[in-house]
């Protein structure tokens, strides 16, 4: 059963075709990797799924519903959460508040309840802090709840982004280069973390350049080059796929 499917999704920027008729699917409960050389269009695919940019053509289905053209906050509410390739935390706010931003879409208190601090609002506020702390504990950052997000070490910032995304209670979690800039130890911990996320019945779709990481953590791998999906399959299949090998070796020649 596919939780996400794209059919002939296309996006051009000016004359540049960033994503050219990509059709693919993500199985529910799987961890899927999306790889490809720089500029292949991977991040653009993520932006299309999360609604940050609208496709020129094609359809995107999530849990059977078309999500094409919806604004990002509605797509989050439906159950897709993301992290960013270049970290995009609320740098000046505390670690806890960053996670609370993810909780926002699952809360109900409105303007009047907030203005008058009604009992229901206070109860919700207590519950949500509890839940946000739970997510922080899950990624191993609970002890830093008071710190300013911008003051965290780099790897911790990446994990905070994951905690923030998890706080939206997603069914599908989209990670754009989660191991980027992490050291070996942190990358190892990230792998464990992704396995724990999968145990929570959350489907994971991730972009990563670290092949060792992708091959060890993913069930399925999608390969893009120049906006085109050139291969998909298990890590084993991908590693032996001549097209993929060519795509990466071809790159070497350019250097």
């Amino acid at each position: 059963m596919q939780i996400l499917s794209l059919s002939s999704v296309t996006k051009t920027f000016g004359g540049l075709v960033a994503v050219a008729g990509v059709s693919c699917g993500v199985d529910r409960g799987a961890v899927v990797g999306l790889i490809g050389p720089n500029g292949a269009g991977k991040t653009t695919v993520f932006n299309l799924i999360t609604g940050s940019i609208k496709p020129d053509d094609g359809h995107i289905f999530f849990s059977g519903h078309s999500i094409r053209g919806l604004s990002p906050h509605r797509i989050v509410a439906l159950g897709i959460a993301r992290t960013f390739q270049t970290i995009r935390l609320f740098q000046g706010l505390s670690v806890l508040e960053n996670v609370l931003s993810g909780c926002h879409c699952r809360m109900r208190s409105g303007l009047v309840a907030s203005l008058l601090r009604l009992p229901g609002q206070r109860r919700e506020e207590r519950l949500v802090i509890e839940r946000a702390m739970g997510e922080l504990e899950f990624v191993g950052l609970a002890g830093l709840w008071k710190a300013t997000a911008g003051s965290l070490a780099y790897g911790d910032q990446r994990r905070l982004e994951i905690a923030r995304a998890l706080a939206t209670e997603p069914k599908l979690l989209i990670l754009d280069e989660p191991a980027g800039g992490m050291n070996e130890q942190e990358t190892f911990e990230l792998r464990e973390l992704i396995n724990l996320i999968r145990k929570r019945d959350i489907t994971v779709l991730l972009i990563e350049h670290d092949m060792g990481f992708v091959m060890s953590v993913c069930d399925q791998v999608l390969v893009m080059e120049n906006g085109i999906l050139i291969a998909q399959g298990t890590p084993q299949e991908i590693q032996n796929n001549p097209k993929v090998i060519e795509a990466y070796l071809g790159l070497d020649d350019d250097d």
Partner: protein, 414 residues
């Protein structure tokens, strides 16, 4: 900073080819620079949770301050005798501007929207009250909710199409709004606004049968409203609604991607701020008894803008201080009245250079953890046991409050 705070990684064992790791390196490098900047920024704010806010002394001093302020009319009469009403009027004007500036703070300070047309909503509130009172004989207190809603409603209609605009564009449009409203009033729109002469003879408010007439009465009336405003907006700020606006101000794209309906919250902030300015309009109309379009000119909006920026965007204490400085202080230097704008201009320039965050900038919000968490956090393992899904000890990863001395003034100015 500790650990590998964004240091370029040794090239990854890359089947991903040379180019990829080049890119990763340069990216990591630039993010390290980012981190540095963020750390400097953190300096000022990270401390907040243990700041003065939580100390009991601070609470006592605040309570004492409020108590002394409550006796201000008596204190003034022993100090200045017969000119007490005059000085009370000054304090009342400060109070009124405080309400207005607090309402602008919801829009400008919390949500980060550059809105320079606030006088328009003030005017709508004042005229709603005046018209309902003079033409239809409503009592002032009965007009108050209507004036509030009217200003909010007009804001909703006007802001709907412009709420997506970026800072500088929004600024221009809101200046347009205040001009349109002023011209409409001057041209005696619907034959109700009295043209450039304005409206005369507005009634006094009465509360529970008590008529509010003297400066002393207005002192208690206005400053009670100031207190209520501070309380309600403080609650609002520390709620789901207030946080949403903070996220929008920090990074709109990230906020939207975390599920915050950014345009809706911007619009709501705008409407709430405008409505509150309408409420201030009611108080103003009944205090002055006469209103005319000249009161609601563009320079009033600029004055309010100045108060919020000078005091500290987003900080209610800052706004309070700003009102006293911008509205109250010039009364002590009456001789220089015509140079007032010059002085404010100079003060603003100096501020933007040396203290762009304002005199009393907003602090980081204070959260209380649910019971049990203190123990749970205390039991976190030590750094060595940084296991896989590592539960890190407090401060295990990085010093959260690495406070750089001599940190340059942070926060991106106006």
């Amino acid at each position: 900073m500790t650990q590998n705070n964004g240091h370029p990684q040794p090239a990854q064992p890359a089947q991903a080819a040379g180019q990829a790791s080049d890119r990763a390196d340069s990216q990591a490098g630039s993010q390290a620079a980012n981190n540095q900047a963020a750390n400097n920024q953190a300096g000022n704010r990270a401390q907040a949770p243990n700041g003065p806010k939580s100390s009991p002394l601070y609470g006592i001093l605040t309570a004492l301050g409020i108590l002394i302020f409550a006796f201000l009319p008596m204190i003034l009469s022993t100090l200045v005798g017969r000119s007490t009403p005059y000085w009370l009027d000054v304090v009342n004007t400060v109070g009124l501007y405080t309400i207005l500036a607090l309402s602008l703070n919801v829009i400008l300070g919390h949500a980060g929207m550059f809105h320079m047309g606030h006088a328009a909503f003030f005017a709508i509130g004042a005229y709603s009250t005046a018209i309902l009172n003079l033409t239809y004989g409503w009592s002032i207190m009965a007009t108050m909710p209507v004036a509030t809603l009217a200003a909010g409603f007009v804001a909703l209609i006007l802001a709907w199409p412009i709420i997506h605009l970026r800072g500088d564009y929004l600024l221009i449009v809101t200046i347009g709004i205040v001009e349109i409203v002023r011209i409409a009033l001057t041209n005696n729109i619907f034959g109700l606004t009295g043209g450039s002469n304005g409206l005369v003879g507005i009634a006094r408010p009465s509360l529970f049968g008590f008529r509010i007439t003297s400066p002393k009465h207005f002192f208690y009336f206005i400053w009670t409203v100031v207190g209520l405003t501070i309380l309600l907006f403080h609650w609002l700020e520390n709620s789901r609604f207030g946080r949403a606006r903070k996220f929008i101000k920090e990074d709109t794209v990230a906020a939207e991607n975390m599920g915050v309906n950014t345009s809706r919250y911007k619009l709501m902030a705008f409407v709430v701020g405008a409505a509150w300015a309408g409420l201030a309009g009611t108080i103003f109309a009944s205090r002055m008894r006469t209103i005319s379009p000249e009161t609601f000119v563009f320079s009033e909006s600029v004055l309010l803008f100045t108060i919020v920026i000078l005091g500290g965007k987003g900080s209610q204490k800052g706004v309070l201080l700003g009102s006293f400085l911008v509205i109250g202080l010039p009364e002590f230097f009456r001789g220089f009245e015509d140079k007032r704008l010059l002085v404010f201009g100079a003060a603003l320039v100096v501020m933007m250079i040396f203290r762009p965050q304002g005199l009393l900038p907003s602090k980081q919000a204070h959260y209380k953890l649910p019971p049990g968490w203190a123990d749970r956090l205390a039991q976190l393992p030590k750094p060595e046991t940084n296991g896989p899904n590592g539960k890190r000890p407090p401060n295990g990863g990085a010093p959260p409050v690495a406070k750089p001395q001599n940190a340059p003034p942070e926060e991106n100015g106006a």
